[in-house]
Assembly symmetry: C2
Homo-oligomer: 499 residues x 2
């Protein structure tokens, strides 16, 4: 029995309760878990759900629904699933439909191929832990096509329960050491909080490098050098994580920048983790997605045979937005074969990624071809989603930048805007007095007054003294315009109230 | 740079390679991950997959297919999916089918209800991290019905990516402390190796308690006392895990035994984890599944208001065997509300369990009712699967017990047999000479000679000097008879060869 248990016991005894605390309480639970924070589903979302319930119970509010612009959840925002994907999934779930004339031949052919690769021809069987082999082959072919022929080995592909799962698994492999030898992981600020959460859980050292907001959130190698040099004083930096296109910041990295990062990783002997889940979400003119893998190989064997890397992709984003299926993969490059064996062993403990998500991934990497019956409809639906996103990306930047006190970088890619907001000193003081960080105070007030749920910038990290929020651009155009107007009005009102 | 890096560098320099080792290698990877073992998909399964490939490539073997009896994967063994479940899943995946006359009304009604609870009425949206609310309500009602009215709160239900996910999450919350204060977790020997793997990963202390093979793998409280008392010398025992019905051992615990375990957990101040994923898989006459929750509440408020517990269930076993969907849940009881908030936060980092798996779970806990059109077919299919399993359980015990040197307890429940095998000393010596544990040597030889893949008992733990294997009883009856005969013949041959 430790001191905490004794304290617990005395408290309970004083209350006249049986003389023993909980086996598991806040003081004796895993301290790493306590340190985990995940703002995208944090306090503000809890409050949004409460308000939803209050509205349903008839409580009167200045609005009739809560608009949840906190998360990149396309279908929840009204985006319709792509017909072809869902037809094949239905065929896989209930193969009796393979006799149905309503389904086009190519959807049936895809479903048959997936089912043949499943144990007992059922998506209800476990797959191999690394993922169904023919799907890994399709992923490798997709990568080869994307990268203009640079080869990809299906044995280097690991299917996963969404990209999040693969990212956490990769970080877990990389963390070791104690004290000053503890693994340090470089992450961008602002970052997607999966990274900080995973690092807290693994008790790894988070090394922040700051993106340059004034240069459209670009990544500066001098800043990487500063960060890694400072970190070497107190930990062992071994990993650099890059999100491209950026989340929450929406920038798309130039080819040159990617080359510089790869050179930096090699020089500093770092494992490179490239989060490329938004690779199809590029909107800005002049911007193009360059995969880290491709740039690595184009830099020649000095790099392509030495730099260790993992790249991550997902079925949750891009044009399909199928978040609920939890599909994704990673490709590992130059990984030590003994470590790969350990990775395979580690993922086998959880048996396999969800097979419907694997099937969905297969369709995403192996979509209808021009000579197939589903091609036209598929392309029409895909193009419409991406065109609407591009329009909304432009709209968002444009409207926010008309508001005094809001500055917004172009949304070059991904699904979010991360505008900077100027908050009056009085608001900052009021927030502090209420024990809140200022941008949380701002977002909570917006939620209560307008029913719009955003995530405060502090949940992603930001330079000291600056304030932001993350908003997804996913609502349908008319609703997005409405949301942008509401936020703009609120910002002006807020500024006046606290001036 | 540490000593390992320098060693690596010198090795590489000696080989004329660039003067730097891998960023990530076997020596500098996460040491906890290295310690993880998961026999169910271990070396023997790797070899089985190789043999599969060799057969496909035309290599001649004494058999034409590898029979994988290593894992409880019902569909892979030819079990057909339950029609009603798959109909509803197809409707959820492709809602255009809701207009199709081929589907019965109750399947459509279930699909509509699930879709209405999804963001944007799509299973492609993220759900809340704890799981879709109406599904958690259905789970709670299912538990109430199972436990004859003892109440269940949907807020205590957490849906998960299979039961494995929930078990690992719960263990993660419970692990803290260093050295002699490190959390100790009691697990049965033999155990399901998810537990030992998770404990290695979390660097928790594994406390073994042995099941009594001579008494049909029953659990003896004196043995629990022995184990916990010894463990208190070197760690802080905080958790006891029970698998009922047993995996790999197939026993079904008596009500009395469950009461004793609960009393023990209270006395020793342990958190109780009840792995009840085989709750519908009870075959032996006189045996009945008693849930820990129900027994806890029937023991009165002294227990029902104090003993902290989590119970786990899955869509992968029972009559449906839908492993690929990765559906499952846990119910937590008497958990500190502050810890519950931490649990909710922790699961939110992974966003949500796969929504198709959640939908499937909903159907399992809310199956067709007698007045609904799908009822008769559903019951016919369900009953047929369970009756076949009961027959195969009996058959397995009966055939194995005719073989000299194989002793097999009754398969009262679950999906496995864990017979004891007597190995000649010469075989044990030969195995040692080849650097293998004796039961792995035995199982590898069986695989090479007969194409049957089992898991050696050492992967689950067994008393020193005893040897076992785990085999699933899932193959179709005729194939199971064939497998049992092949193993019996092999055992006799093996015994002769090494006598």
């Amino acid at each position: 029995m430790n001191a905490r248990d004794i304290t617990n016991m005395s408290q309970q005894a004083a209350n006249g309760l049986p003389c023993r605390g909980k086996v598991l309480n806040l003081d004796n639970m895993n301290p790493n878990v306590r340190r985990v924070e995940y703002a995208v589903r944090g306090a503000i979302v809890q409050r949004a759900l409460q308000i939803d319930k209050e509205l349903k119970e008839g409580v009167k509010k200045p609005f009739t629904e809560v608009i949840k612009a906190n998360i990149g959840d396309a279908h929840a925002m009204g985006q319709k699933p792509i017909t072809f994907l869902r037809q094949v999934l239905a065929l896989c779930a209930y193969p009796d439909l393979l006799d149905d004339n309503k389904f086009p031949d190519d959807s049936k052919q895809r479903a048959r191929r997936i089912l043949e690769a499943c144990g007992g021809h059922s998506i209800g069987a476990y797959s191999s832990s690394q993922g169904i082999e023919c799907i890994r082959q399709d992923v490798a072919r997709y990568i080869e096509k994307r990268d203009d022929g640079i080869s990809s080995d299906p044995d280097n592909i690991y299917l996963a329960t969404g990209a999040s799962d693969a990212i956490v698994t990769m970080l877990k492999l990389l963390v070791c050491g104690k004290g000053r030898d503890r693994t340090g992981v470089m992450i961008s600020i602002p970052q997607y909080p999966l990274y900080s959460a995973a690092l807290a859980d693994l008790a790894a050292v988070q090394i922040n490098y700051y993106l340059d907001e004034d240069k459209c959130w670009s990544l500066d190698i001098a800043e990487l050098k500063r960060a890694v040099t400072a970190a070497r004083q107190h930990c062992n930096p071994r990993v650099i994580c890059i999100i491209n296109p950026g989340n929450p910041t929406g920038q798309v990295q130039s080819r040159q920048c990617i080359e510089d990062v790869i050179r930096f990783a090699k020089e500093e002997h770092l494992f490179l983790m490239a989060d490329e889940v938004y690779q199809d979400n590029v909107y800005a003119e002049g911007c193009k997605f360059h995969s880290f893998k491709r740039v690595l190989f184009e830099m020649g064997p000095e790099y392509s045979t030495t730099v260790e890397m993992a790249s991550f992709h997902s079925t949750s984003k891009c044009y399909m937005g199928e978040c609920g299926f939890r599909g994704g993969y990673m490709e590992v490059i130059n990984m030590d074969p003994e470590v790969k064996a350990q990775l395979t062993k580690l993922v086998s403990v959880r048996l396999c990624p969800p097979v419907p998500g694997q099937a969905l991934l297969d369709l995403v990497v192996n979509p209808p071809q021009p000579d197939e019956p589903s091609y036209d409809k598929f392309m029409k639906e895909r193009t419409a989603v991406l065109a609407a996103l591009a329009e909304k990306a432009g709209l968002t930047e444009q409207i926010f930048n008309t508001v005094p006190g809001i500055t917004c970088n172009p949304v070059q890619g991904a699904m979010y805007t991360f505008p900077r907001i100027t908050l009056p000193q009085k608001a900052i003081d009021k927030a502090k007095a209420e024990g809140q960080v200022p941008d949380m105070f701002y977002c909570m007030k917006l939620l209560e007054e307008e029913g719009i749920c955003l995530v405060p910038g502090s949940g992603f990290g930001q330079r000291e003294g600056t304030f932001h929020f993350r908003m997804t651009i996913l609502p349908p155009t008319e609703k997005l315009k409405f949301v942008l107007q509401k936020i703009s009005d609120f910002h002006i009102r807020f500024t006046q109230e606290f001036s």
